[in-house]
Structures are given as C-alpha cells and as structure tokens.
Amino acid sequence: MVRSLKTYAVLWLPAGLLALALAPLVADPYQLHILILILMSATMALSWDLLVRTGQLSLAHAGFFGLGAYAAALTYSQLGFNWWLSFLAAALAGGLAALGLGMITLRLHGMYFAIATLAFAEVLRTLTLQINFTGGAVGVTLPAIFGGSRVAAYFLVAVIFLICVLTSVLLQRSRWGLAFQAIRARQSVAEVLGVNTIKTKLAAFVISSIFPSLVGAFYIHYVTYIIPYEAFSLNTSVSALVMAVFGGIYSTAGPVIGAVVLKVLEEYLKSVIVYGYTVIYGLILALVILFMPNGLLGVMRRAAGSGRAKQVFRWAGGRKRAETPD
C-alpha cells in the first residue's frame, strides 16, 4: 500500500539524518570519501530530476557542474573571494546561464531543448580549452578547503545535499509540483488552464541548475584541481540522469536511491575497466527505459502492492491531504 511505503518514509527521514550526522564517527577516511562522492552524485541526480519533472530532458548538467567549478575557482584564486563567496559565485553563474539558455529554448519543442543543452556543455568545454584565462588544457587548481579536513568537507556537501532534498520535497508538495506534473503531461492543456508554463519551466531549469553548480564548486575545493575534459565531461551528465532514471524518475527518493546504488557500482567498475566504465550506464539506461521505466522505486511500489501500477506521485499526498490543499 502506498500508505505503508509512506510510513516507512517517515521513519527513514530521522534515521537518515541521524546516519548522515554520525557517519564521520564510524567511517574511515576512505569510506568518508566514498560517502562524499555519493552525496555529490545524489545531489546531481536529484537536481536533474527537478527539471525532468516538467518534461524537459537536460543534458547540460555537466555544463553547470563545470561552470560552477570554474566560477568558484576563478573567483577564489583571481578575485580573492573566500570560499563561501566563491560558492555563491558558482550558483549565480549557473543560475544566470540557465536563465539565458532557458529563455532561448523553452518556448520550443523539447527536442530543441535537449540538443541545445547537450551542445551547451560541449561548447563550454571548447571554450575553457581555448581561453588562457581559464588555464587552457591544464585546468585550475585550488588549495584544499577547510585546510584539508575531510570531515568538514563532508558536512558541507551533506548540507548541500539536504538543501537539495528539501527543495525537491517542497516543490513536489506545493502547487509547483502540480504544475510540473501538468506541464509534463500536456503542456498546451496546462497553459490553457492557467498555468504559466514557460515561467514554470524556466524556474525549474534555473533551480535545477544551481545545484550542479554548487556541487562543481565543492568539487574543485575538495579535489583541488580540475581540467576541462573532466569538468564538462558527458559522463557527469550521464551518471546523474541514469541514477535518477534507474532509481525512479519524478520523485525525491528515486534519484537518491539510484545514486547510492550506482555510485558504489561505479567505484567498483572503475577499478576494473579504467576507460569506458560508463558503458554500464548506457546499458542500464536503455534497459530501464525498456523494462522498468519507473525505476527501482516503481518496482518497489508495485511489490508493496500499490494499486497504481502506473507511476503516480500524488500531489497533496493521499486521502488526508486532499482535504486541505495548499
């Protein structure tokens, strides 16, 4: 029953928060590092999902990641910003880029948007390779944040992750969530019913792009260096979206679950196949779309006996909530 799954969710929330808070006490440095990577991936996957809820497929996530990394790095090293200002710069850069790109493409068919986002990421890579200011092919380096304290870094990324989760949950349960679902189903009908679809899609795009920018900023501060190939690598976009689709698209729990499972798998695969381990992502994506389009979450829901085999993420919850909508 959907209700029992939701009950588990209520239990999971405090348990999850507790686990997050206590992890540094029990984990060794390597495990903590993996946890950091998982939180980064989960944020990337979840923020990607925010946009796809409006029916827009973005392949630019890597673009914002790299943009955030470079913005943070350059403001920190060239302009002397302190670390959290550099994060702000990253978020601003990502948000503005999304605004610009969105205004051009969101009036058009979804295909144009997807292609424009793909092109955007590729071109950013070209740009950073070409311009000396950004360090060219050599990339940029930064001193480690918090003097190299992994625990501090962990808490920072955990905070970013939690903000993302909160954003996702709030959006789902608000009238924004209803608008997203309507737009995703039939944009023209939603528009005729009074939804400002363009503004909503734009807002979704901007909000969704701020998070990868923040993650990128975190990445450069934590890993201390980045090169264009890595920064704007398609792999980053791919892993974010496959994690979301695999775990369960259009939900909050799905991308997080997908990120946890796949990141662990990826770390293992990387040691076995150095170049090209993302082949598994392509395979998983294709298989999921063909055989379990609602992802792991969909499978779990069906197993829990939910009467709705079709994917539904109900706005305003179940029976009780519908009585008192926002």
Partner: protein, 290 residues
C-alpha cells in the same frame, strides 16, 4: 583572396559528410518522429568498419562503402526491432533517454574494445592532392564530397520517384493516414531506420578515409547533424543541404581566419544552433512554436 577561396573549398568539401549524416538523421526524425541521439554512433561504427576492412583485407575504402551500408542497414534494423520499436508510442522523453543510453553504450563499448586512439585508413586518397583554379583539394575529401552528394541525389530520387519513397513521405506526414491507405507503417519504420543508419555508416567510412575513426567521433557528428536538421527545419530535406553547406563553410572560414581557429571552429555549430533557436522563438505566430 586565394586563402579565402581555399577556405571556401575546404568548407564545401567538409559539408559533404555533414550533409550525408544529417540526411540520415532527418529521415529518422521525419519519418519515425524519433530523436535519435545514437545516430552518430552509426557513423562511428562505419568508420571503424572501414578501418578494419582496410587493415585486415586491404580493402579500398570506396569498395567498403556498399559493405558498410549493408552492415549498418542490418544493424539499424536490428536496433529498431529490439528497442526503438517499443518506445514509439511512449512519451518523447523515454525515446530520448533510450537513444541516449544506446549512444553512451556504443560509444564506451568502442572505447573499451578499440581504445581511444584514432585509427585511420592510410590509403592513397589521403596523399594525393588535386589542384585546380588555384585551390587545393585533397583527393579523399573531393571524392567524399562527390559521393556524398551523389547519394543525396539518389535518395531524393528514391523519395520522390519510387513507391517506397512515397510510402516514407506518407508516413512522415501522417502515420494513421498512411496506415489507412494500406501502407505497412511498421515496415516503413524498420526500413527507414535501416536506411538512416546505412547513410551514416557510409559517411563513417569516408570519415576514416579522410580523417580518422575514434569513439568520440559519433557524438560530435550527432550534435552537428542535429544542428543542421534544426537549421533546416524538421522534414525539410532540401534545407539540410543548405544548412550543411553553411556549417561546413563557416567552420572552415572560422578555422582559417580566426587566430587559434581550429579550436573555435568546433564551437561554430553551437552559435548557429543558438542563432536559429533565438530566431525561431521570436514568435512565429504561435504561442508555442513547434
């Protein structure tokens, strides 16, 4: 001035490959209505096929063309039959995700199997240069241009003069309508997808003849082909030719005249896409332009 003409010619020659790849994409978008992110991988596979046929059997790339066409035709049909077919009625985003997944899979499979090192066909086509009217043209590029446009003309004739071609056009206009007049829509989809793969495959062989084969080559061509199809407008085959010429020539001119040009010319297609999209979204009498 001479430099300009040389750049122009270079651009023209480049556009041949672009046009051939984009026509294939235009077919699959127009007839099946599907956004195939994996289109460039057909080109990539064709390129590797050309290389291996040359390395293993010493087969002249021009002779490999029909072979590559056949192999990719079958591969395209197989892919359609096993995967694409099932998402034709699904939301568009599922289609995009599926083909994107296939693209990532094939790209990385190639990376694993054949490594990221560029492989090229070192035949005489590469070393012979033609001179005429004060400009140079590599033999390979010249042949590519000629063959590509011949194939396009052949395709045009097929689309307008043959029953199969007319069936394709009918389906691209109205699936249900075509079905009602007895056209076997599923077969049309199957063969069209095969044809689009074959065209890309042939382009791939020629690419390895004048440049090289590499796993990442597919994505680059996918993007540029989409750029061209977007510029030409959906379903506009003739426009694809103009758009290809535009892209090829612009890239060449940017590469020649702008300092550090070759890096920048890689970004030309994006500027063109943006320009076209901005122009389109300026309201074409519709609230929501399709």
């Amino acid at each position: 001035m001479e430099v300009f003409f040389q750049a122009l010619v270079n651009g023209l020659l480049r556009s041949g490959l672009y046009a051939l790849t984009s026509i294939g994409l235009a077919l699959s978008v127009g007839v099946l209505g599907i956004v195939n992110f994996a289109h460039g991988e057909f080109l990539m596979l064709g390129a590797y096929l050309g290389v291996f046929l040359f390395l293993l059997f010493g087969l002249d790339p021009l002779l490999s063309l029909p072979l590559a066409a056949l192999v990719l035709f079958l591969l395209g049909m197989l892919l359609y039959r096993c995967t694409i077919k099932y998402v034709l009625d699904a939301p568009e985003i599922n289609q995009m995700l599926l083909t994107f997944g296939i693209s990532v899979f094939l790209q990385n499979l190639a990376l694993i199997l054949w490594s990221g090192d560029p492989r090229a066909i070192n035949s005489t086509y590469r070393s012979v240069t033609l001179h005429f009217a004060g400009v140079n043209a590599g033999m390979g590029r010249f042949l590519t241009f000629v063959i590509a446009f011949s194939l396009i003309i052949a395709l045009y004739l097929v689309l307008t003069r043959t029953r199969a071609g007319k069936a394709m056009r009918a389906v691209s206009q109205s699936r249900d309508g075509a079905g009602l007049v007895g056209i076997k829509v599923q077969k049309v989809y199957l063969y069209t997808f095969g044809v689009s793969a074959a065209l890309a495959g042939m382009a791939g062989v020629m690419l390895s003849m004048v440049l090289y084969a590499q796993p990442a080559v597919g994505l680059e061509f996918t993007l540029k082909a989409f750029c061209i199809v977007v510029m030409a407008g959906l379903g506009n085959i003739g426009g694809v030719i103009w758009a290809s010429l535009l892209l090829g020539v612009t890239e060449s001119i940017v590469g020649t005249f702008i300092p550090q040009g070759s890096g920048w010319s890689d970004g030309v297609f994006f500027i063109l896409i943006l320009a076209v999209l901005i122009f389109r979204s300026r309201g074409v009498g519709q609230w929501f332009a399709h």
